[in-house]
């Protein structure tokens, strides 16, 4: 008997479009959190459906609708789109605002994340990966998340922001609480701590400008030559903190879990160590199949979309993993084909909010894998797949991933 209070769907949602689905909950028999999404279509959920869970929200299950959710900001806004709704929530710059307002901070950040800018980071990323991996390669085992996948992107963030490496443990701790805690009091205290850290950081860069992202954002000027509001600057720092850490960590966890259990794939990547273009093509397929993010939008006004009545402030989830395995777009979508030729996955989104860090993220994953395979060519899971502790939510992944070699 289900004794959990379940609010009814609102009046504008017809019964046949209601499905009871909680995207934060991963049932015990599911070893891979993305499967909760792929079960939906298999179990007959309509391609556009409504769940009353988590404050109530729509779910899009077709590639075409997910892409429309990204591109059509006249209907689907990023502003205040959190699920479950959190109000007030900081307006993250530029991710939390729609065009044309979005273009202002996007343009400030864009030059620092172009393929050209990321190529200049290559050497430093290789060094960091090599050093981290050689720290445990001789031990024959590690917890991949704690020992590598959480550290690497966080250390990269520190460097981009011109912060000293000694602060890595502090940032790992606050990031871990931010991404994993479900306790409202701990979360509130953590948010205050993050904002205090960012405040200190930008104040310090004001006194002591450096060649880093924090200084660039601080020194940016609007069309009239004035500095941007302090709160926007802090919120831009906050966005870069939340967007580039957990996503990369969990994508890496997925990739390493797959490679630990798939000797053929390890061989294919080892064969491509001296062929970066072929290596990158295979990484692209791992990006398609391991899409960890579920993206939120908020409906801007009462309207009808594909025959479904939407009401102002309705929330919508765009699950990238579902778009990336839509059989009408990807032949044999569940198969991991490291030579897949046409691969228009939406792991980094599409449209004006395309993940600005996508080139850095891909480069971080590619370089990590190259350095890893050079030092640890073969490895396996040191625990049963069934025993992996997994989580759902806006970013899906694993609590830990024990590997041995």
């Amino acid at each position: 008997m289900n004794l959990v209070f379940q609010p009814p769907a609102p009046d504008h949602v017809p019964d046949e479009l209601v499905v009871d689905f909680d995207f934060f909950k991963v049932p015990e028999d599911v070893t891979d959190p993305v499967q909760i999404w792929h079960r939906l279509a298999r179990d007959g959920a309509p391609p556009i459906f409504y769940t009353p869970r988590n404050g109530g929200h729509w779910v899009f299950l077709r590639y075409a609708d997910i892409v429309e959710g990204y591109r059509n900001h006249e209907i689907f806004s990023t502003r205040g789109a959190q699920i479950p709704p959190i109000e007030p929530f900081p307006v993250l710059q530029p991710n939390g605002v729609d065009p044309p307002e979005h273009d202002v901070f996007r343009k400030i950040l864009a030059p620092m994340f172009t393929p050209l800018a990321v190529r200049r980071m290559t050497e430093g990323l290789h060094r960091r990966a090599e050093t981290l991996i050689s720290g445990f390669a001789g031990q024959g085992e590690c917890d991949f998340i704690a020992d590598y996948a959480a550290k690497f992107p966080t250390a990269t963030f520190l460097e981009l922001f011109g912060l000293p490496e000694e602060r890595l443990p502090e940032f790992l701790r606050i990031a871990n609480v931010f991404f994993r805690s479900t306790d409202p009091d701990i979360r509130a205290a953590n948010l205050l701590e993050i904002y205090a850290v960012l405040e200190d950081l930008f104040r310090e860069k004001e006194r002591n400008p450096q060649n880093d992202i924090a200084t660039t954002v601080l020194q940016a000027r609007d069309v009239d030559g004035n500095p941007f509001p302090w709160q926007d600057i802090i919120n831009c720092g906050f966005l870069l903190f939340v967007a580039g850490l957990d996503t990369v960590t969990n994508t890496m966890a997925y990739v390493w879990r797959y490679l630990a259990t798939t000797p053929d794939a390890r061989q294919k990547f080892r064969d491509r160590l001296d062929d970066p273009a072929a290596f990158l093509l295979a990484i692209e397929e791992l990006m398609r199949i391991n899409a960890v993010s579920n993206i939120y939008r908020r409906v801007t006004h009462d309207c009808e979309y594909k025959g479904v009545r939407l009401r102002k402030n309705d929330r919508v989830i765009l699950p990238n993993t579902v778009a990336n395995r839509d059989p009408s777009i990807f032949p044999d979508p569940q198969t991991i084909d490291l030579d897949r030729k046409v691969n228009n996955h939406v792991t980094f989104g599409v449209g004006p909010h395309r993940c600005i860090g996508s080139h850095l993220a891909k480069r971080e994953i590619m370089i990590s894998l190259q350095e890893w395979l050079r030092q640890i060519p073969d490895f396996e899971l040191a625990q049963d797949q069934e025993a992996l502790s997994v989580f759902g939510g806006s970013v899906m992944g694993f609590e830990s991933l024990k590997l041995r070699w």
């Binding site: 172009t114 050209l116 093509l281």
Partner: protein, 68 residues
């Protein structure tokens, strides 16, 4: 053969540059596509077509004849 880009649609995924760097690069300001060699030689046709098909925004197309 000639390849053209719609810069209003391009969002800087840079898949074209990854797949066919002989013809495509990206700019240093917004990271949008720069077509270095719009009129590409026939031996690159397959790579260019693949780049066009892999644009997640559909911002690239191959123009027929000489006209863009």
């Amino acid at each position: 053969m000639r390849v053209v880009a719609n810069l209003k649609i391009c969002q800087g995924h840079a898949r074209c540059e990854d797949l066919c760097p002989e013809v495509f690069s990206t700019d240093a300001v917004e990271g949008k596509v720069v077509i270095e060699h719009p009129e590409f030689p026939p031996e690159l046709e397959e790579k260019v077509r693949l780049a066009v098909r892999n644009c997640p925004e559909g911002a690239l197309r191959i123009a027929k004849g000489d006209k863009a």
